[in-house]
């Protein structure tokens, strides 16, 4: 990256810290690549702010509730990019358990396993059992439906869901919808929700007050990040048309193993880091395969996402924190010195 681009990014970050939401120009995406945090800018309206170290100490304070998103655990993966994905998932759970405010629940946005093997799901269950938050909501990733059209996944993680694993629930005034966009994928396409699920979603949202904050979560991004690598969902536009009338919509995805965010009107999109291994920023590598980083840097490119919800402002603050943040004082900064808070204002 060119020197002046760095300067521009620094300047932008500074500006955003100073004047927060009033600034024109929104942060189109923020991605980890190698050892650096890369911000890419483009025109629009800002709803995101970068926070400096220390924010994490107060994350969750004053919030009505907090939940945590984890993603892409890929239990069973054992290649050089991360030979021990169980240990890094455990680190993520330890980080959640060390949070000052116990989150109300955890959302796992898919790719629990590498190869949909029973033993992989067993290992995942074992680690998740140790989480302080007892309720965990899941959506499947493509790795969880490899062998049996997702039957085993549904048996284990989708008992009360519909179709291939979609469902919705309400929590303290917020409506959450888990969507499945990894089933029945068509040759040449990207992620897909399918007509049956879209019809269900339309029905599910119908009649809800436009003041209800909506959180959509799914494995593959519901916005097109990089079609060449299939990082998008073919029929996401249809789904997003159903949430247009709502004042606050937050979309949480995984799949791409790095943080990216975008704000479009009242919809803010966010992808989470993996607990297993990083993937390259779009177009920076020949393919989306696992990115190998030196062992001592691995935990800096893995992480969890905390989301704090405050009723008064109808806002959701999304805080990403890396597993490797301030190792020695992990509990002190448990919920994340990082990096980015993304507030969507209703």
């Amino acid at each position: 990256m060119a020197e002046n681009e760095h300067d521009l990014i620094d300047q932008k970050l500074q500006d955003l810290n100073n004047d927060g939401v009033d600034r024109r120009g929104f942060l189109k995406c923020m991605a980890w690549a190698g050892t650096g945090l890369v911000w890419t800018m483009s025109g629009g309206i800002p709803v995101s702010r970068a926070f400096s170290k220390g924010y994490g100490k107060d994350a969750g304070k004053g919030a009505d509730f907090t939940f945590v998103q984890i993603s892409d655990s890929h239990i069973g993966f054992n290649k050089p990019a991360n030979p021990d994905v169980t240990a890094t998932l455990q680190t993520a759970i330890n980080k959640i358990n060390a949070m000052r405010h116990t989150p109300d629940f955890i959302i796992h946005t898919g790719d629990l396993s590498q190869l949909s093997k029973p033993s992989e799901f067993d290992t995942l269950d074992q680690v998740l059992k140790g989480a302080s938050a007892k309720q965990i909501f899941f959506v499947p990733g493509e790795h969880d439906m490899l062998t049996d059209n997702g039957e085993q996944y549904l048996r284990r993680y989708g008992k009360s869901t519909k179709g291939t694993g979609w469902s919705s629930f309400d929590h303290k005034g917020v409506h959450f919808v888990g969507l499945v966009n990894v089933a029945n994928l068509k040759a040449g396409g990207m992620g897909s929700l399918g007509n049956e699920q879209l019809a269900w979603l339309e029905e599910d949202l119908k009649g809800r007050s436009a003041n209800t904050p909506i959180v959509l979560f799914a494995h593959i991004p519901l916005w097109t990040i990089y079609p060449d690598w299939g990082w998008g969902t073919d029929d996401s536009e249809q789904a997003l048309s159903y949430v247009k009338r709502f004042g606050s919509v937050t979309v949480l995805n995984g799949h791409i193993h790095q943080i990216m965010q975008k704000v479009e009107g009242k919809v803010s999109f966010h992808t989470a880091m993996s607990t297993a291994f990083p993937q390259p920023a779009p177009g920076t590598a020949p393919s989306a395969g696992p990115m190998k980083v030196p062992a001592d840097q691995l935990q800096r490119v893995l992480g969890i996402t905390d989301v704090n919800y405050v009723v008064s402002g109808r806002s959701l603050a999304v805080v990403d924190s890396r597993l490797g943040d301030s190792g020695a004082s992990a509990s002190e900064n448990a919920d994340g010195p990082l990096a980015a808070v993304d507030s969507s204002h209703g």
Binding site: A81, A187, G230, P290
Partner: protein, 119 residues
Amino acid sequence: MTRNNLWIGGTAMPVLIGMLLLFAVSPSVTASEQPSATNAAVKIDNFVFGPQTLTVPVGTTVTWTNSDDIPHTSVSTEGVFRSKVLDTDEKFSYTFTKAGTYPYYCTIHPKMTGQVVVK
């Protein structure tokens, strides 16, 4: 984005041309009734089937090998063949006994497509 596309084209084309030349001069390519026992390979590397179009004579056994750190599949779009999930270095073979064009894709990463042309 464009660079990536060019890169894929740049690697696939010479291989494809090479395969075509190989079969053009191969003595095993005959119009005999008995399918000749030829073999051909498709390498799955960096989320790409290489070559993306493979042209082979009737009777050829095509073997797909996954060289990625991520699992892939090779599944006929028209239901003719379907591999199991191929983890790193795992292989899948299918023998093509009828002429035709066989498009296929990776069901896990559907952007990955290829075809086998059997003549």
